[in-house]
């Protein structure tokens, strides 16, 4: 990913193309700046934002919420996935509840979250964790179920304890799966934190996005969204890089 390769050239080209289309669309149809500002206006807004130290404060808060929520989701996801992957009746018992929690529109819970966790970062961390946890858990379960029979046999023959089997076989076997879940998870944690900020509190980039929208400053809003997207991308690629370090032996890691 970070070696020099064609994508270093191709991605910017595709990007430039898309920005070109955007610009042309705005110009040709003379789209109102209240709906879609031109790329240049957005870029201007980004520069203004980056020059403002408060943007950085908000960014740090959002970053903290995402990372904390994500780490929580990873820990809880692997622990739950580990148990549910091994204990079939527990999976079947809790699965509908977990899926229900996942499907349920969290907006309803925000007032409760605020009552429980306050207006600050905690409610957003919880929201990020709740949303990000699901794919990590699902993939952990899949990973554990996909352990090769031969590998299971070896551990059985060695009379390994459940914990040893988990640590030495199931977890590493499931690692490529878990990492894929984490790749989806970090994206969802980002969405979770932002939605949380959208719906309550007065800190973070998500709040900035609503605030600028409410001030009808659409180009600043797109600027905030740009910053958010970059933040999300950086986090995502950090998780992707983890793959190389955690599964150097896996084909999917080699091919990256």
């Amino acid at each position: 990913m970070f070696k020099f390769n064609t994508s270093w050239i191709a991605t910017p080209i595709v990007l430039a193309l898309l920005i070109g289309i955007w610009h042309a669309y705005v110009t040709i149809f003379s789209v109102s700046p209240f709906i879609l500002p031109s790329p240049f206006a957005v870029w201007q807004a980004v520069l203004v934002l980056l020059a403002d130290p408060r943007t950085w404060q908000h960014t740090l808060i959002t970053l903290y919420e995402i990372v904390a929520g994500f780490i929580l989701a990873v820990i809880i996801g692997i622990v739950f996935g580990g148990f549910l992957g091994k204990i079939r009746w527990l999976e079947q018992t809790l699965n509908p509840l977990i899926v229900g929690l996942q499907v349920m529109p969290k907006v309803a819970l925000i007032p409760l979250f605020i009552v429980w966790f306050g207006f600050g970062v905690t409610s957003k961390i919880v929201l990020a964790a709740v949303i990000a946890f699901f794919p990590i858990m699902t993939n952990t379960i899949l990973g554990i179920k996909s352990v090769e029979m031969g590998h299971r046999d070896v551990m059985l023959a060695l009379n390994a304890s459940r914990w040893q089997t988990f640590r030495d076989v199931e977890l590493p076997s499931a690692m490529p799966f878990i990492l894929t879940g984490m790749e989806v998870g970090i994206v969802l944690a980002t969405i979770g934190a932002i939605v949380g900020e959208y719906l309550g509190g007065s800190q973070g980039l998500g709040y900035m996005a609503v605030a600028t929208l409410n001030a009808f400053d659409v180009q600043s809003m797109f600027g905030v969204i740009f910053v958010l997207t970059i933040l999300g991308l950086i986090l995502y690629f950090l998780v992707v890089m983890l793959r190389r370090y955690l599964t150097p032996w896996h084909a999917a890691a080699k091919n990256d």
Partner: protein
Amino acid sequence: MSVTEKAAIQTTAAPTTGARGAGIKLAGVEQRYGDPKSSVLALTDVNLEIGKGEFLVLLGPSGCGKTTLMRIIAGLLKSTSGKVEIDGQPLWNGNRRNDKVMEELGVVFQDANMFPWLTIEDNIALPLKLRGVSKTERRKRASELCELVGIKGFEKRWPRELSGGMRQRAAIARALSCKPQILLMDEPFGALDAMTREQMNLELQRIWMESGCTVVLVTHSIREAVFLADRVLLLSPRPGRMDTLKTIEIARPRSAYDQSTPEFQAYELELRKRLDTFA
């Protein structure tokens, strides 16, 4: 042979070549696969005592249930009926395996089953890790074992960097790492070349004699069976039954030259003839 000798089988006292190894006792072992209604009988009526320190070889046509029997002895499969005792202790207490008995087993599978996320060294030392042996000690033992099975220098490689035969040798090293009392091997040398295979046979004989452990080995090679075995158990095809139990009375240690003795040839021919009748 076979049918007439069968009666004698049960009573034949197991020879006690070694001293330290544990004995195995199978009584009325039967295995069905599939759900109760449409089940397939894979193995039936296995009654066998394997003596402490004995070297028993399982021989038989493909699909006769050698792997199945091996898995039953290894505690990987609870036979649908019958009893297994290791060293006088039942292998199963109800549906729980007897942990103490399991400690004494080392198993080599038909596939190498190396863990791709561990280096060869760590793969070999895994059983030691599970028993809480320190890292330095594990390293040391792994490198000894690599030398023993002839893959010295590959300690730090990933399994995918080794050829199939080399991986299988690593699997043998792994099974040996805990100095098991009972070594169960399911066609361990199938993936090795002829030369290494002969070497490994000699090596296995030496390891077995030194350690005095009990060995049960599955093979397709009649020559290998005669060369290694105290007794050869021939299984008949589906459902697998004990067909012939042949004691090989060639003095130990056996060398490669013993293979050309008329005595050896006679054993080989006898087994081959019996196998041929299954076709």
